[in-house]
C-alpha cells in the first residue's frame, strides 16, 4: 500500500505550494501517473479519500493524466504501447524490451486560492 506514501508526498508538495502562494487551499490538482508506474489506481483512490480530509486538498478537484507506456523491443527496435513490463514485441515476438515511458509520477500543476 505504497499508494499512501505517494498520496502523502503529493500532500506535502501541495501544502508547500499553498503556503508559498499565501493561499488557503487547493482548488484543483493535475497529476501524471503512468500506466506502468507501479501505482494501483484503486488503492490510490482509497488512499486519497482517507488522506485528504482536513487538509488543504480536502475539496480539490483531481485530474489524472494516465500516460500510456511505450516500450522498445531490444531486438528489432520496434516501439509499441506496452500493457505490462514484460510484453512480447508485437512485431517480432521477442520478449525483451526497454520501457521508454509510462513510469511517470508527477504533480503537473495546482490551482490554489
Amino acid at each position: 500500500m505504497h499508494e499512501l506514501s505517494i498520496v502523502m508526498s503529493i500532500l506535502e508538495i501541495a501544502d508547500k505550494e499553498v503556503k508559498k502562494a499565501n493561499a488557503e487551499k487547493v482548488d484543483s490538482i493535475e497529476l501524471e501517473i503512468g500506466t506502468l508506474s507501479g501505482v494501483e489506481m484503486e488503492a490510490f483512490d482509497f488512499a486519497w479519500e482517507i488522506s485528504v480530509k482536513d487538509t488543504v486538498m480536502e475539496d480539490a478537484e483531481r485530474k489524472v493524466h494516465r500516460t500510456k507506456a511505450k516500450a522498445k523491443c531490444a531486438d528489432c527496435g520496434h516501439v509499441f504501447f506496452a500493457q505490462t513490463l514484460y510484453d512480447d514485441c508485437p512485431k517480432c515476438g521477442q520478449p525483451f524490451n526497454e520501457i521508454l515511458n509510462g513510469r511517470e509520477l508527477r504533480v503537473k500543476a495546482l490551482t490554489v486560492s
Binding site: S5, I6, T84, L105
Partner: protein, 265 residues
C-alpha cells in the same frame, strides 16, 4: 494520522540499536525542512483570486533527492550499500546471517534492519557482533531514503565497508523507493511461485541481481528455476541470477564472488 497508511496510528518511525533505548522517533516528513525543494520551473498566474502553479514535480522527488545524498555519502566513504528486498519469508535474514558469518573476517560489514515491528532481526545480527540499527516502520510498508539517512547517522559505517540494508518484507512497495543503495538485490525462494517475477514485476525491473534461495528444497516443491528466470528476464533482461541455499550453504560462494567483484567497482 500515520503518513504511510492513514491508519490513525502516531506518525512515527523508530530507529534503535539493540540493547539501547530507542534513539528517537522520526517524523516521517521531517527532512523537508532540512532539504528544501527547488522549483526551477515555477510559473504562477493569477485569475480571479486563484493562483495556478505549474510545479512539474516528481512526486517521489523528495525521496529521490535524499537517496542521492545517501549515495554521495556512500561514495565519499567508499561504502558498498546493497538493498535486500523480497517477500516475507524468503530467507533474507538467514541469507544475511550466513553472509555475515562467512565474510566478517574479510570485510567490515554493518547492517540496517527494516521491519514494521520488533527488534528480532537486529538481535539476530547483533548476536554475530555486527554493528546494526533496527528501523521499525510502524505501519509503513517500505523503507525510504530518510529512514536510511537517519539509520546511517546512528550506524556510522566505516570507510571501505559493506552496508547491507534489509528492507521490509514486501515485494511491492519497496520497489518505488530509492534508498541511495549501489545495488538492489531481490530474493525469491523456491517455496514461492515461480511466476513471482511477472506477478510483481516492478521489483524485478528495479533490481540488479536475483537470488533464488532455498534451492535445497527443490526436490520437494514444484518450482521451475528456469521458468522463474525466464519470467524475470522478460521483465528485466539485465538481471543476474545466483542460486543459493542460505541454510545449507550451496551457491553462497557465487554470491560472495559477486559482492567482492561489485564492491570494487
Amino acid at each position: 494520522m500515520c503518513s504511510t497508511c492513514g491508519c490513525g496510528q502516531p506518525d512515527e518511525v523508530l530507529i534503535s540499536k539493540p540493547g539501547k533505548a530507542d534513539l528517537g522517533h522520526l517524523e516521517m516528513h521531517h527532512h523537508d525542512e532540512e532539504h528544501p525543494h527547488h522549483h526551477e520551473h515555477h510559473h504562477h498566474s493569477h485569475a480571479g483570486g486563484k493562483t495556478i502553479v505549474e510545479v512539474e514535480q516528481d512526486i517521489l522527488g523528495a525521496n529521490n533527492k535524499l537517496a542521492e545524498r545517501n549515495r554521495g555519502y556512500f561514495e565519499a566513504k567508499n561504502i558498498f550499500a546493497i538493498n535486500l528486498v523480497s517477500s516475507p519469508g524468503s530467507g533474507k535474514t538467514t541469507l544475511l546471517e550466513r553472509t555475515l558469518k562467512d565474510l566478517k573476517d574479510e570485510l567490515s560489514i554493518s547492517v540496517i534492519e527494516g521491519d514494521q515491528q520488533t527488534f528480532n532481526d537486529a538481535n539476530r545480527i547483533q548476536a554475530l557482533d555486527i554493528p546494526v540499527v533496527q528501523v521499525n516502520t510502524g505501519q509503513g510498508c517500505h523503507l525510504d531514503s530518510d529512514m536510511v539517512h537517519r539509520a546511517v547517522k546512528e550506524l556510522n559505517p566505516g570507510e571501505n565497508s559493506l552496508l547491507m540494508i534489509e528492507n521490509v518484507g514486501n515485494l511491492v512497495c519497496p520497489a518505488l523507493f530509492d534508498l541511495g543503495e549501489n545495488k538492489r538485490v531481490v530474493i525469491i525462494s523456491v517455496t514461492e511461485g515461480d511466476d513471482k517475477p511477472i506477478k510483481y514485476p516492478d521489483m524485478f525491473l528495479s533490481s540488479d541481481v536475483c537470488i533464488i534461495n532455498k534451492t535445497d528444497l527443490l526436490p520437494y516443491v514444484n518450482f521451475d528455476v528456469q521458468k522463474a528466470k525466464d519470467y524475470a528476464l522478460r521483465v528485466n533482461h539485465h538481471l543476474e541470477f545466483i542460486e543459493v541455499s542460505a541454510t545449507k550453504g550451496d551457491g553462497m560462494d557465487r554470491w560472495y564472488e559477486w559482492l567482492r567483484k561489485n564492491r570494487g567497482k
